[in-house]
Structures are given as structure tokens and as C-alpha cells.
Symmetry: C2
Subunit: 345 residues, 2 copies
Amino acid sequence: MNIQCPLPTKTDEIVKLGHGSGGEMTQRLLKNYIQPLFNNSWVSQAHDSATLPWDADRLVFTTDSFVITPLFFPGGNIGELAVYGTVNDLAMGGAEAKFLSCGLILEEGLPLAILERVLISMAEAASKTGVKLVTGDTKVVERGKGDGIYINTSGVGVLESNQSIDPSRIRRGDLILLSGDIGRHGISIMASREGLEFESSLASDCAPLNGAVSKLLRAGVEIHCLRDLTRGGLATALVELAESSNRSFVLEESSIPISEAVQGACEILGLDPLYVANEGRFVAIIPESASELAIATLRETDVGTSCEIIGRVEGEGYAQVILRNSLGCDRLLQRLPGEQLPRIC
Amino acid sequence: MNIQCPLPTKTDEIVKLGHGSGGEMTQRLLKNYIQPLFNNSWVSQAHDSATLPWDADRLVFTTDSFVITPLFFPGGNIGELAVYGTVNDLAMGGAEAKFLSCGLILEEGLPLAILERVLISMAEAASKTGVKLVTGDTKVVERGKGDGIYINTSGVGVLESNQSIDPSRIRRGDLILLSGDIGRHGISIMASREGLEFESSLASDCAPLNGAVSKLLRAGVEIHCLRDLTRGGLATALVELAESSNRSFVLEESSIPISEAVQGACEILGLDPLYVANEGRFVAIIPESASELAIATLRETDVGTSCEIIGRVEGEGYAQVILRNSLGCDRLLQRLPGEQLPRIC
């Protein structure tokens, strides 16, 4: 790092890996440094995308940088992850992804054949999700100033329905529908990084979610809020939604689907699967009346075959997420405090 | 770099710093690896932004990553550069920037006070240019896998007039208007990096260009094409435009404004100012009939006080850029072949 700042610094705090965890430290960075400076109605929505006041507020805009290591992992690679990640962020705002940009930061010495494989995956993922990559940029940094490939994708999408899908619509009595079993992405990255072999079948859940969301909307399912489970896992996503909506969620631990492979790996590694990252899972907060249609519809999609209702919105005016086990004991869930596994996406 | 690719590589070519130069090597990377995969009408426009088929084709989308070193330099820093760079790319498509995203890749160990200064500059630059930062993302990479701060900004803008401003509109007889003296950004970065002191007054030209473009359009100036001069300098920008329009440009060397400080520094360093980077300069290709109004209008703006007509579009069907000196001798200009100064933006 070669920093020349002409002005004295007012604090000796530094960036730590936990600031990129998507958990508590990331939240503090956002609250203390970013939101006060970029104080407009879109940033304060605290959603993963911004609805632009354009064409009757139907356009949605989002951005995501991908720094995952390794670049290739069981079930995917950084290229498809970069396309799906941004398509998914748009889907979580109820928008169909239309246009993507691609900003590459390449490290000197990267084999061009690796770049080519990543770009081919991006093109395939774009084609699969129906999004067009329309503009891009390439920068190269010296050896030791990057790590192969970093990718930023930004996306413009179009709202699919007139439903506004955001945390402010979450109501007491709503059900929490989880699209599938959790923890596959984080565990398979960790296994791949450490050379561990838990189960030959354990691969990342990395997948596009736009098809499933479209199907729910077209089936006429009333959806109050959507959130994909990425860094920080299920627990962090739900704590964020509880805080944004100022409501209390109660989860039934026994109803949360976790594969035996992930459960076993978490026990060995001392990890809590509720905090392990996913890249193809989401929660939908829906009114109870919509739950039967939602489950039936979601189970017909590739990504939703094992979806389950895992909890309910109970109190309001008090933001908390309670995990109730089969004995009726309650545990209060917090955001992921620091970093569990750096560079998971 | 920790690359695990499960497939054999088909070539042993690697990424070199020159692939990020914005010159010939960048062009080959685009042609060989990127354009064949993302083959749609927007990518093949070969412009710095894409006009989206939305709201009667009035929306424009662009992306740019900033990896400049040092983060703070005479005349600017990475934060304002990241805002102006993307605002300028939109302006070059004739669009007024409306919404920006911000993707941060931070290196572990970065002082938060440095991040704060950069973010404050971004907020100030956004306010100055009238653009709203509406969505963002933060990732952190380990020490030695980044370099302080990398920033991606993507932007959505709105076309300001019904004129289509792109290389296909360049015609024989058009004049080439350069907005100001060249080379300040590249020379001041080099001086700052190497600890050289040429002139106390030598600072980057880093500036927003949207105001000047708006003023030209509102004055009713007919504009065929615009291009900002960034990596690769004036020469590379004009070679790109000559190739995109398949036309021949003739430049009068003596009419190209270069400050004494830049000229002197280039002589000492053995650099050609035509290839040195700029961050607040552009060329406008305009019909001769528009030139008087264009010059008068541009000279009234902050960034255009020293604008000059530097050449003319002469032949067609043959893409070349000829530099004619005061003795009438011609020199054929090429793209910057490799890398002159890595990480200039």
C-alpha cells in the first residue's frame, strides 16, 4: 500500500477483514462512514438495490464487487457468481435484470486462459438469466496488488409487478419462507480452500434466483419482502430485515433445512450454519394467506425444491430475531459480529 | 494469486500491465476475449457507455474501475476521480449523469481516516456534478491482495438532446475541437509517484466535463462525436475514433495546446505528450459550421478556456490519424502500444 495523504488523519482505526463480512462491522462502516455522506432516500432504504425515480419508479439499480478466492470452486466460479449475484440483488427488489456492466480488475501475470474461462462463464450465466452485458472496463494492477481477478457487476432491472417489495411492508403475522437448505456455498468454499473433503456431493448453491422470483410474482403470490442470503448467512439477513422493519421474528430451528453434509462439516469446523454464506438462497416474507400458493410455486423451481416456512413475524416496535429450538428454548440471533470466512463472494 | 482452475489452460499467455493501458494491448484483449463473448449491439458500439433501449433509448449506462496510485495526487484523489470519470463517460455519450453506484474494494489495514477522506471527496464531487450515489457495495481483501482502495463507479444517465453523439456520425470536413491543454494528469501522477518536482503549478486536470457538454448542447452546437482523453492520451483517443468511423484525421501539431511545464517534463522523461493521460479533457468532432459557436461556448466554461481546433476529418474509407508539423511533415499516429504509466486512473 502506497498511501500519500496530504492531510493529517484524525483516527488510527484501520480497515479489517471483518469490515467486508457483511455483518456487524460492515454495518458500522456503512452507518458511520458512508450513509452520513450519501444521505439520500435511496441509500437510506438500506436495500441491496435502489429504485430509480425514472419511468414511474420502475427502474432498479444495484452494484456488487466479487473478490472470491479461489476463482474456481465446487459448483461455480467468480464469473457466474458475478452475474448471478447482481441478477439476484435485482430479483430481491422484485426486478427482472435487464442490463449488466462488467468492471474487471486483473492482476499482472494472470493466465489469459483463466480470464477466458471466467468470461465464458459470465456469458453463459448472462444468457441463462436473460441479462445483457452492455458496457465494461478493464484495469490491470501489478503482481501482489490484486489476486487474479476481481469483478464488479452493476445492474439495471425493471420492476416486474406493482407490488413494492421492501422491508417497510413486513407485517405482524407474516410468514418467513426460506427457499432451500443453507450453508452450501460457505462450506464448499472453505473445503476447497483448505483442501478438505467432506462429501463428494457438497457444492456451492450458487444459482440465479430471478426465475423463482418471477414465477412467484406471475403466480400472483403477495410478497412483502425478499432478501438473498449471502455474506453473514441466514441469521444476518434476518437481523437486517428485523431492524429495517422494526419487527420481531421467531424462527423454529427444526424447520430450517440444512443438509447432513453441511451440518457435519459445521460441527467439525465449529461453525454455526445460520451464519454460513449462501449464493442461491433467499427468504420471502409473505402474508400467511399467500403461503400455500408460494410453497407450491417455489417447489416447482430448480432453486426452491426444498423450501420451508421457517418462522413468523410476531412483535412490532422491537427488532429482534429469536431462534426457538424443539424444546421451546429461545436464543437471540445477532448479526455476524466480525469475519467468519473472508472473500466468500 | 491462488488460482485453482479445474480445466487445462489452452494458452500460456498472461495478463500484462499493458493490457490495462487503454492502448493497443487493451484493444486486443477486448477484440479477442471480450467482444466475441458479449456480442450484442451495445458492446459493438465500442463507446465508453451503452444506450439502453429504455424510455425511447434515452437512458445511458457506463462503468469504470479506478486503481490509481497514489490515492492522493496534486489536483485530486481517487474519490473525485471515480465520480468525475464516470460522469465524464456519460457526458461523452451526450448524457447527463443522474445515478451512480459505488463498489469499494478495500485492503485490510487501510486507515479508516483515508477511506473517510476519499468518501468525502466522492460526496463533494457528486454534489458538484449533480449526480446521486444511490447504491453501493464494500468488500475487503487481505493485506497484499489490494492497494488501499479500488473503486468501481457505474452510472446511469439521460440523453440531453435528440442528437445522437457517436463515432458513426463523424463526417469528412468535420473539425476536431480539443477542450484544453493536454498531459497534466499523467505528468502530475508521475511526478507525485517518483517524488519529482517540475513546477509547483503542475496539477492534474481531473475535472467534471458534464457542465461543458451541457452548455454546448444547450447553445445548440451540433456535435457529431465526443471522447474524453484518458489512458493512452489524445493520440489513442483519436485513433479509436478514426477506426470506429473508418475515417482519416489530420492534426496540426502546432495547434495542440501543451503547457510549458508538461512539455518540459515530457522532454526530461522522454515521453510524448500526445500519449500522456488526461482526466479533464475531451475532443468534440463537429461540423465546420458549428465551430465558431462551439469555441465561443466552450471558452466560457471552467474546463474549456484554452480550447482549440486541432485538426480536421479528411479522407474516408481509410482509418488513420496524421500529425502534421509546422514544416508540413506528416507522422502517422498509432494507439499507445503497451503501457506508459500503469495505474494512472
